[in-house]
């Protein structure tokens, strides 16, 4: 039983290492800034095939191609925006984890702000309504009426 368990653990370890080795390639960078940009860029793009993995985290062949392209474009001296545009032109806005602000995404970006504003408005209106109700003084006529209702004995 103990032997079985050890063997199972070993097997798992081997599989884990195999997966790690087979997945993401290591790249050499002379410039630490460029290395950082590479990591940020590949972390900010979604794999078009696997839908919920960044390309720096995905085994899909297309992710490997995209990482390779990002690397090449970095070596060519392209800016981050140019590289992102290059990818979006081919694979669509879909690959951006952070969608850009444009007419199609106004609703996406605007809705949370609009909802907070709406909520604040409702709260302000309610507070104001309550304050008005309590601050409104009774007219002489109303006071007389209350007196009449509460001191029925005294007045009669």
């Amino acid at each position: 039983m103990a032997l079985m368990r050890t063997m199972a653990a070993l097997l798992l370890l081997v599989i884990a290492f195999g997966a790690a080795a087979g997945g993401i390639e290591l790249r050499e960078f002379d410039d630490p800034v460029m290395e950082k940009r590479y990591h940020d860029l590949t972390a900010s793009m979604r794999c078009p095939l696997c839908e919920n993995q960044a390309i720096n985290d995905s085994d899909a062949p297309i992710s490997a191609d995209m990482r390779e392209r990002v690397y090449q474009l970095l070596q060519d001296g392209q800016s981050d925006i140019e590289i992102i545009n290059h990818m979006v032109q081919r694979f669509g806005e879909y690959i951006l984890y952070n969608p850009r602000l444009e007419s199609r995404t106004y609703l996406l970006w605007g809705l949370p702000i609009a909802l907070v504003l709406l909520g604040a408005m409702v709260v302000v209106l309610m507070i104001r309504a309550r304050r008005n109700a309590s601050a409104k003084a009774l007219s002489a006529e109303e006071r007389q009426r209350i007196d009449a209702l509460t001191n029925r004995k005294g007045s009669s």
């Binding site: 078009p48 839908e51 297309i62 191609d65 669509g92 909802l115 909520g119 409702v122 309504a129």
Partner: protein, 175 residues
């Protein structure tokens, strides 16, 4: 009365949003449009699968409505959709293949085994044209109009039903 209406505003907003998001949940993210829709077919320069000395470029796709099918010998769904592609070719639709991430040997073997509906096959062993087309898994099929503009994109396997209900109507539309 006014205050009650005001209080009603929040649940109404909540319900509207819940419905909106619930609808979003039932959308299929793999059914999104290609980024190349209504754009020119990407420029390329490559040899053909059968003849490494013949060079072709994007002008190959001008002059006639063409279906461009991206395939590879390694792709099982490509084999399954071949009968449908042969049927499309029989319907006098111009077919051009992109032999994607494949070798000449295997590509030719595929065509002799499963049939060849293509007028010509662009040889793309490194997947460069595929990358510019935004292909992320074969098979994919693009409809290119006579001006070389991409008008329709079909992701994945083309079923006989897809041929009848999607591809043929689209070809008619852009002819």
């Amino acid at each position: 009365m006014k205050r009650r209406l005001l209080l009603l505003l929040l649940p109404v907003c909540f319900l509207a949003l819940a419905l909106f998001f619930y609808q979003g949940l039932s959308l299929d993210p793999s059914q999104r449009d290609s980024a190349l829709m209504a754009r020119d077919f990407p420029t390329f320069e490559a040899s053909t699968l059968r003849d490494e000395n013949r060079r072709v470029d994007q002008t190959l796709l001008e002059g006639e409505v063409t279906l461009v099918n991206v395939w590879g010998e390694w792709c099982p769904a490509c084999k399954q959709e071949m009968p449908q592609l042969l049927e499309l070719a029989d319907n006098d639709i111009r077919m051009v293949g992109v032999n994607y991430r494949d070798t000449r040997e295997k590509g030719m073997q595929f065509l002799s085994e499963f049939g060849d509906p293509f007028e010509v096959n662009i040889f793309d062993p490194e997947g460069e044209l595929g990358f510019d087309l935004g292909v992320y898994g074969a098979p994919e099929t693009f409809l290119v109009d006579a001006d070389g503009v991409i008008r329709y994109h079909h992701k994945g396997y083309v079923s006989p039903q897809d041929v009848r209900e999607r591809i043929l109507p689209e070809v008619e539309k852009w002819r």
